[in-house]
Amino acid sequence: MLEELFEPSSIAIIGASRDPKKPGGAILANLIKEFEGNIYPVNPKSDMVQGFKCYHSVDEVPSAELAVIVIPAGLVPDTLKQCSKKDTKNVVIISAGFKESGPEGAILEKQIIDISRDSGIRILGPNCLGLLNTHNGMNATFAAGSARKGNIAIMSQSGALCTSILDWAASENIGFSKFLSLGNKADIAENDLLDSWSHDDETDVILAYLEGIKDGQQFIRTAREATKRKPVVVIKSGRTSTGSKAAASHTGTLAGSDRAYTSAFDQSGVIRAYSMEELFDYSRAFSTQPLPEGFNVAIITNAGGPGIMAADACEEVGLRLASFKPETIDKLRHGLPPQANIYNPIDVLGDATSQRYDLALEAAMSDPIVDGIIVLVSPQAMTDVEQIAQAVIRTSGNRTKPIVTSLIGGNSMVEGDKILDMGKVPNYPYPGRAAKALSVLAKYRQYKEIVRSPYEQFDVDENGVRSIIDSAINEGIYTLGVESLDILACYGIPTVRSIHARTIEEALQAAEKIGYPVAMKIVSPDISHKSDVGGVKINIKDEKELTFTYTVMRQNIGRILPDARIKGVQIQEMRYTGKEIIVGMHKDAQFGPMLMFGLGGIYVDILKDVSFAVAPINRDDANKMIQQIRSFPLLTGVRGEEASDIDSIVDSLLRLSQLACDFPEIVELDINPLFVYARGKGCVAPDFRIILEERK
């Protein structure tokens, strides 16, 4: 269990050094400061280091529940094997020179992964800064500073960022419960820590700086469990094309698309921070304040301008300004001067002292409509900032509703800021940041209340699909189209009647069976946009037209694409087109199947009005995908139009999700268009395209 990583009774520092400027020396020095367990330095060349007996090899060490390795990379595999013969459960490999350094390092990394798997020893790193547990004084990092005790646990894929965070947190008075640098993530990765920390009593908020995720599907499952217990705030860098190139080069892993991260975080309740500033703004609110019951906010200010800015900010981040109960308005009217604004934002006026803030705070706190409070202070002649800060702390003390503050100013706010900090009330330099932090608390509360509906499993013909896919792969065909519509039919997605014909005779027979008028589509694994090459003809009325169309279609395509493999044509029944929507999926590098939904035609092509979700999805997720697009009202029936059969779209999305999860070899699937009819009349797929990958 990973708990032992943070609470070992003994630690061996392999590669311990006398010189505290070297990593092996710095780690030992950091551990000596506060760690209460046994410390065993190992170095073949020394008998004593930093006042401790030094062992010449791991074999000689009495015990090493945790081993911290700080020796050249080439020596690590053997040392790890020695550890596996001791009582070692976890190893932190600080040493660099593994996968990040090139092919030779990569071979070493493979070796240590194998040793870890065979011996059961868990590995943190390699190429990391180490880890820290403030609650037992274990600072097994080579960072210059240490951390204050607190209730925030943080992991970072960047070691350098770790040292900056430690340094900055010390000056900002932020404390941590656990602190960890992930390094190359050869073994232990974000999912292990999410799971471990979500059960850790000393941790109330989990923060992460990530450049990629090792196992996306597992991440969603683990994060979903973790966020039920405590908030998880993540910065995922490499959001832009330029950023992701930099991340690729730095980590050697493909990060996957940013919208996959957005969907995955959204589906698992992870709060995404887009900057370090947001990461700490949110974590300060989460680590000190209770969650609000809802989105109604009271703003208390001593200046009009900041109040208006805060009101704007609230609306932008999804908060509402509460309409006070009459009793509250009465209290404010009686307690505040007549010029004061007693509606929201409450303006206690520029000459206000802490008494007026006290009164307004009490009124807002006791109003059941108010879910959270934003206190703004601007330094005016009469303003007793420190007293106001004390008043806020007093009100916040009962911890029933969250309070965030913004002391807007410079020198005159320093003391007030300190008081709020000591009193565990988060203070932000600008009202917008205070509003945003409060909104994140409210959104997390809302997420926690959602009871997820279970995943539905439809009765489908999985073997039917398997045999279609198998025979395609055996033939070396990886792109399937209209001739394989049965794949959808096997999973209960309605399709039009469709018959594959290899010759003109077969085409005529097929049309006879289906009944004119029919549509004809070229079948070729090498043509994905059939209509672009004249490979689609609809409304063929009779045999004569069919014969003519067949001949012309084959001839034209043969001329345009002489190398395309042509496997005949598909003859299909003609159906009323309905409203065109698009459903599809593609396999993301890190999260696996990503489902897509949008309205067809210009809505997808020009407006890019589409929504995404990582499969598997449940009915709520499917509904959310449909409602998320901007053009959603068009499906509900506008200007006299009948509402579309949204339930049938939900059904199709759920069945597609099941198909995508059952067949990981499907890397892309598009049903474009899916015709959806009026409510109760269902939907139908006249065509689709699927791309398979080789089985690994």
Binding site: F98, K99, P103, S244, S249, G252, R565, E693, E694
Partner: protein, 356 residues
């Protein structure tokens, strides 16, 4: 002892592959098989002497003890052709004849690889028909099938030979899958009607056009930075990685058995290609990739080839190599034998041999 000359209607029709495959199969069947390519045209310098690449390969694969100079007594160098035009060449028949006597000793069957095209060599009196006459060989004609028009070439070659009884029949090679039905229903009956036996229809197969990773590195030339143990992997297609990160993965996944050519500085493309199972990465402009990417390539066992040429030049070069690379790769040999066993009328061929 029987002799079969394998000729083709045009160059790069798959003659060497079919010769190699047929020789392997006949050897497996129990025949003592000899090989001769009297007129060497795929020449390269090795250990200070000129050698034909096909000759070298087949000698090695069949384990022949005869000297390469007897298997290929004549080298079609520029100098040789100049001499032919100046009338300074004589005794060709005799050198081929005496080399043939040596290589055919103790053999049941000798396969002779003909000229690039059927009538090549006429200027020095050594067209396929001449060689067949000289060595008393039957002729198996290979025709690369592109459309029904390819039949023109077959009919023409049958018409120009003065000893039509030497013609065993044709093998249609590299046939697109969607033409197979037409061939069976229309082309075969037509040819038989014209007196042309169809001894096999070989479907198009990308493995045979492919080129081994190691060979790419050797030919470009380039330096293999990672996963050298994967040099025998075969590449069938070349893709260029110059798109946006998000579209790269989808683009690569649509293809199979490919190599990706991209710049050394495009870590995103390199990783997308590895994720999508590329056979190898060819990084141009001598731009060394990042150490982390090299590490990932090693773990995923994907060879990275670093070349100094720019992307355009590299692709031009690769396109020339594709489909013309040697058959010496064990995977390719396995594939050609497999294909021949399933698409050649081996019984008919053996009957012809026995009849000779």
């Amino acid at each position: 002892m029987k002799t079969i000359l394998i000729g083709s209607t045009e160059g790069f029709s798959g003659k060497s592959a079919i010769t190699l495959g047929l020789a392997t199969i006949l050897k497996e069947t129990g025949y003592k098989v000899g090989f001769m390519k009297p007129l060497g045209n795929k020449l390269k310098w090795e250990a200070d002497r000129l050698i034909d690449e096909d000759t070298q390969n087949i000698k090695k694969i069949l384990g022949l003890s005869e000297s390469v100079d007897d298997i290929t007594p004549i080298h079609l160098t520029d100098d040789f052709l100049h001499k032919v035009l100046k009338g300074e060449v004589s005794g060709l028949e005799q050198s081929i004849r005496s080399a043939f006597d040596k290589i055919s000793r103790d053999k049941d069957i000798v396969l002779i690889e003909g000229n690039a095209a059927f009538s090549d060599g006429a200027i020095y009196g050594m067209s396929d028909a001449n060689v067949a006459h000289l060595l008393n060989a039957s002729i198996l004609l290979v025709a690369k099938y592109r459309s029904m028009k390819s039949i023109d070439n077959i009919i023409t070659d049958y018409k120009i030979i003065s000893e039509p009884e030497r013609m065993m029949g044709v093998v249609l090679n590299d046939v697109p899958e969607d033409e197979l039905t037409d061939i069976e229903d229309l082309v075969k009956p037509y040819l038989i009607n014209q007196g042309v036996d169809v001894l096999g229809v070989i479907p198009k197969d990308f493995t045979l056009r492919s080129i081994a990773v190691g060979q790419i590195a050797e030919m470009l030339p380039g330096e293999i930075l990672t996963a050298k143990e994967k040099c025998e992997e075969l590449v069938e297609h070349i893709l260029v990685g110059a798109m946006e990160t998000d579209s790269a993965l989808g683009f690569f996944r649509k293809s199979h058995n490919y190599a990706v050519v991209t710049g050394g500085d495009r870590a995103d493309i390199q990783l997308a290609a590895m994720e999508a199972n590329t056979k190898c990465l060819i990084l141009t402009g001598n731009l060394y990739p990042s150490a982390a990417v090299l590490g990932t390539a090693q773990i995923k066992e994907v060879p990275i080839i670093l070349v100094s040429a720019d992307t355009m030049t590299t692709i031009d070069h690769l396109e020339t190599l594709m489909g013309r690379s040697s058959m010496s790769n064990p995977e390719k040999i396995k594939k050609i034998v497999e294909l021949l066993k399933s698409s050649l009328d081996l019984d008919a061929i053996i009957r012809h041999i026995d009849k000779q």
